[in-house]
Amino acid sequence: MERRKIGLYLGAIVLALWVLLPIYWMANLSLQSEIEIYTVPPFYFAPHPSINNYWFSFDIESAVKYFLTQGQALSLFIPGVMKDFPRSILNSVIVGVTVMIYNILAGTLGAFGLTRIKFKGAMPLFYASIAGRLIPPVVIAVPYYVIIKSVGLLDNLVAVILVHIMFTMPFTIWILNTYLLTIPTDIEDAARVEGYSYLEILRKVTFPLIGPAVVAIGITSFMISYGEFFFALLLTQSAASHTMPVIIGSAVSVPRVTKGLICSMGMIGILPAIAIVILFRRYLIGGLVAGAVK
């Protein structure tokens, strides 16, 4: 038994290190000045921890001034897109939350229609919505770009939101559908006998019952949308519509980039998502499980 315990704790330590080391390294770099970061060998602990980089993330102008006073010796480069960072976090949250709300409302309505209202074509429509998940994102890139351009939505957050909804909806429908089928319909039947309409039943009876699944798909769709890079990169061109992954993704490949800034931006960028994981973990398991396992 003791050996088993040791094995478990060893595994636990390895898992914790696997998760935490990369985050630690990002935090470590974000607390160092660029001079310290561009030192050989690297510092394993920030020698003079400072949150300067976090201030600079929201105020690139003063970062530029600061680096000028540091002299040209470092010849660091601050990519222009970085100045849009504050706006991009806001944009990412706007996109994520809109996608989440749309998924919750339209997904519940759709899954309710598929499972509770008997009509011809429910099954084909269900399979069609699941099959939507199999469409590779890159397949629809060109056609979608052309459509968006022709309706003049290029460089607009709406374009990003619409394509994210398209990605997330199949999963939403699937999870909600399976969850709906696991709960007994007795109460709903009783409500129908009482003379409630379908929409009233959905609102007053069914919606509260499927709470965990709704929370789970809400979170999942937020996560997918918040971190999505490919379409956000294609569809946005200016400060007004860049999302956070676009800023970080296009800045990081610049040689001699200000790494500390990227790391502090990354730390800020992962906060909302991590907070959500920790806060709603219980619902995630409860909601996704019924859909996946049953």
């Binding site: 315990k5 478990l8 636990a12 898992l15 998760v19 990369p22 985050i23 390294w25 990002m26 050989v40 060998p41 690297p42 394993y44 339209a106 759709g110 229609g113 209202i117 429509l125 269900f126 069609a128 919505s129 998940r133 469409i135 590779p136 890159v138 397949v139 629809i140 890139a141 060109v142 056609p143 619409l162 909804i165 398209m166 909806m169 199949p170 429908i173 559908n177 399976t178 379908y198 971190g227 890079f229 992954p245 970080i248 993704g249 990081v252 490949s253 790391c263 990354g266 960028g269 909302p272 998502a273 959500i276 994981v277 920790i278 973990r281 398991i285 996704l288 499980v289 996946a292 049953k294």
Partner: protein
Amino acid sequence: MLALCLVPALTPLFLFGFYPLAYAFYLSITFYNLKTNIPPHFIGFGNYAALVSDSAFLISTTSTLIFAALTIPLIALLSLGEALLLSNNFKGVKALQVLALVPWGIPVVVSGSIYRFIFDLNFGVFNDIAMKLGLAHEYISWLSVDWIAMLIVALAYLWVQTPLPTLLLLAGIQSIPKELHEAASIDGAKPLAHFRMVTFNWLKPVLFIVLVYASLMALWCFDPIYVITMGGPANFTKLITFFTYERMFYFLDFGQAGAVTILILGITVLLIYLYFRALRLGALRLRV
């Protein structure tokens, strides 16, 4: 009339999913290259034929296969191992379950940036560690060694892609009825047989979902390539999605790009069918 409640959910799907898919199919059988003066016209399988004889395409198909062969089993094994570990009862397991889920919330772009910095030539920490451990005698540009670059991309990708399968498998393990375990114990099953007969059998449907998920993500992988290697060294990590992206936005050859994407779709469907057969799931229980 009541079917109207499907409209808000399915409209985006058909308008921005299936319609573009049909359009991509149209592109795949059309000559459509904006870098030439030739107007778009029907060429049948011409794009496919051009691709098959294009060495760049073959290289990126190979690298996609390597990446898939590397990451699909790894995601399945890592997440199964993690889930088995987290299903045990020991002090701090609840906190570890939350911790294991954290990378899921991290955008792939951010994960890619971290790993890019870690494996940086002059200022990355990995070179320093390798030197101190005596694994290397000088700083090595890891990202320009083809296989290692591939491994680094896979690492950044695995880090964010294992938590969700872990969550699903953990939930599956926790839903195993106690009677099954008891029955196996009474029969005196050895640990390995116990795992195979009870846990693995019960987890098959979840494992199917995990394999499908891992395959889709591997075939569609784009973000870590863009952030870490940009397809290099020597196109070794130029996965098929990145190849398509270049065909579209640098070469402006929409016909060939369309053809590649249809091929990706075909491989996706084929893989799903194979898993389905391999795990002998019988009827896929999409509906209970």
